[in-house]
Symmetry: C2
Subunit: 440 residues, 2 copies
Amino acid sequence: MKALRPERVVLVGSSTMTEEIGMTHPDLFRGIQENMAGFKGTVRVVDIDDPTPIEGDLAVIALPPDESLTWAGKCGEAGVSAIIQITGGFTAVQRATYNGHIERYGFRLLGPNSIMGYLDTGIGLITAFNEGIAPAKGPSSFIVQSGGVGAAVLDTAISEGCGISRFAFVGDKIDIDDEDLLMDLLEDPETKAIGMYVEGVKDGRSFVETASKVSAVKPIVALKGGISKEGARRARSHTASVSGSDDIFDIALKEAGIIRVPSIQSLIHTSVALANQPPLEGRRIAIVSNVGGPAILGADAVVRAGLKMARPVEETVEQVTSKYPGVEMINPIDLIADADGERYKHVLKAVLADETVDGVIVINQMKSCFFSPGDVDGILEALKGSSKPVVDVIPGGTDFRTLRGRFIEAGIPAYTDPSHAVEALEALHSYSLVLKGEYA
Amino acid sequence: MKALRPERVVLVGSSTMTEEIGMTHPDLFRGIQENMAGFKGTVRVVDIDDPTPIEGDLAVIALPPDESLTWAGKCGEAGVSAIIQITGGFTAVQRATYNGHIERYGFRLLGPNSIMGYLDTGIGLITAFNEGIAPAKGPSSFIVQSGGVGAAVLDTAISEGCGISRFAFVGDKIDIDDEDLLMDLLEDPETKAIGMYVEGVKDGRSFVETASKVSAVKPIVALKGGISKEGARRARSHTASVSGSDDIFDIALKEAGIIRVPSIQSLIHTSVALANQPPLEGRRIAIVSNVGGPAILGADAVVRAGLKMARPVEETVEQVTSKYPGVEMINPIDLIADADGERYKHVLKAVLADETVDGVIVINQMKSCFFSPGDVDGILEALKGSSKPVVDVIPGGTDFRTLRGRFIEAGIPAYTDPSHAVEALEALHSYSLVLKGEYA
């Protein structure tokens, strides 16, 4: 929405105030100022200890509840279109006061308890306060109802080089909510897939309607927190969320065309796949690997996920074995540990051209093999222009970090465990069902 | 076994020979030589292009099958006690010839198709060929039937700073098998837990008997490859493994007191937990966190795993709230984003002393919080000497890499996702059942 695409941002905080238990702290205020250095418009800082006039379209407030309400009023007077309320800890009465301000001044509010605020890499807007929080530009966007979960997703995205378009921390969402942001991301040309962390939604029926519109165009994947009664109890206190039974939520998400995942890690893995790869139209998967064991585990995971191992046609078998008689054409296809980029390229081209293959998992391990970073070229050459989804696995820790950048840059999601690659393909298949109206 | 604890190692290979498709390559031969630089005994290199006499207790052979058999015979003549056959590709006839050598000369054989051979960090024995393959000394040992899976585990262990005692790549195991190695690890004072990757075992009944003996003393966790018919077909070709139905395998593992896991990642996560933490005697878990969302997801995962969220007694609640009235004592316990080491220490001490708490998940996030590396001190101080199992979660990618070293050094397993921490506690609880004879 336009309110979150400001030209002039005003940061409201204090360079001295610290709460006993709470987020207000001079370091937080300073951190936001530093992260806003790359913003493409103007940034004004209003330190309430020695205030200057409020001039801006978007105000970011980082103060305790009472002071925040006072200054939100002043921002309203000054005509801001939106406020991002970083800090939380608002009582029901204080929330009502905020609502009064919204009605009176007509600004939009993200938060309170947003914690990390809003990121838009297109305009350099970063209202988060920690160091090293700026992600690369890219096709994934997120809407999260927890500073912690959101920050973990963001930190992982930064660490793995996965690009982000927009990232919204909705907090207690007393005004701007998931629906507003989904509609906004629907319009964002950079956003190719949307990841969500949800503790509860206000109006389930309305949410399903809006999400259905969006998921018909862009894939949405969601992680729900507060499934257990213990988790739900904490969620009530955390973001004032009341969620109904988990089964009902599950049905609602399916109806909305939202793909559900069980963990933070899965949320990241599937979002990146959905943002970079086409839907998986059928269930038949080929695995092309330079190691036996991880390929076997991949095949096990494929079958466990309800997908199928493809049976390459005679022509494909012939094409491979005529050049590489030592490669036994049983899927998972083991290229043997000395496979180089050339061997991968030849086999992958044949496999991708095979009509009985719907999607491919490439496994390229370095340790225990003769695979070197230069061999990635051959793989990427074979994958160029493929209309079928492909995901990559680099088993191991240090090797994963050595190679994954090349794949991510080329839009090929890369994982360290075969089971993660299968989870990604499962999501890509679910999205093909969403598009066909066969998911619910 | 003594055969794998040599004083003199002889490496047999060729500085010129390369197989069309296969592992024999001068680089592999050279790589092993380099990795053996830290061996505490003597190392002789026998290059078959210009051979010197074989002098050693243990021979490591990296040649094509026919040449390997020739040189295995010569090693037998020279009186070696053991051979590690790195390279594979042996036909049934060639395997039979190897067996003949074993009978005739009485040496023990690891492999063929071992690929990475054997690591014993206690004596600096590393017969793997890649660079950067030397793990730190530590309490986890592994027995793996796949070069790829083993190398992925090893690479992750190195990358995450998890220490290793011994690591055996059994390959086609025509002589030394899982049982031999399990009995060996039972005797190894450094080994506190054993991780296995298995495609098949020769004699199920005997394996269960041996494993039962070992699991009564040291925890064993296993990943099985070739569960699906497609995976099993590849396993037959990969390591000549024939496995029965997965259900039978599952029952056998339970009987053997072996804890089963579904992925490479799980194998590593649970092995490290079992090697460093005591068994989880009850099911009641407390979560102490500086972030709400990840703690809620942790609670959801606890309940999903069949564990329970503890309800701290009044005394514990009093102890915490008297000092920190802002901390609401609902489990998962949210210390709020500004929690420092001191607050963690106070709350963790109270929670660990609570008799209704059996195990603890600590979550300390940096991004979205004010947690800094120095705050780890407070946490570790509180955990010192705890008789209850504790695992740590550092949500995010870069932050995980910043902090995890401190925890690992102190013997506290650290994970990036709450669900991994719960998986670890689940394994620690399973092991308490194994010890009580209530697991099967």
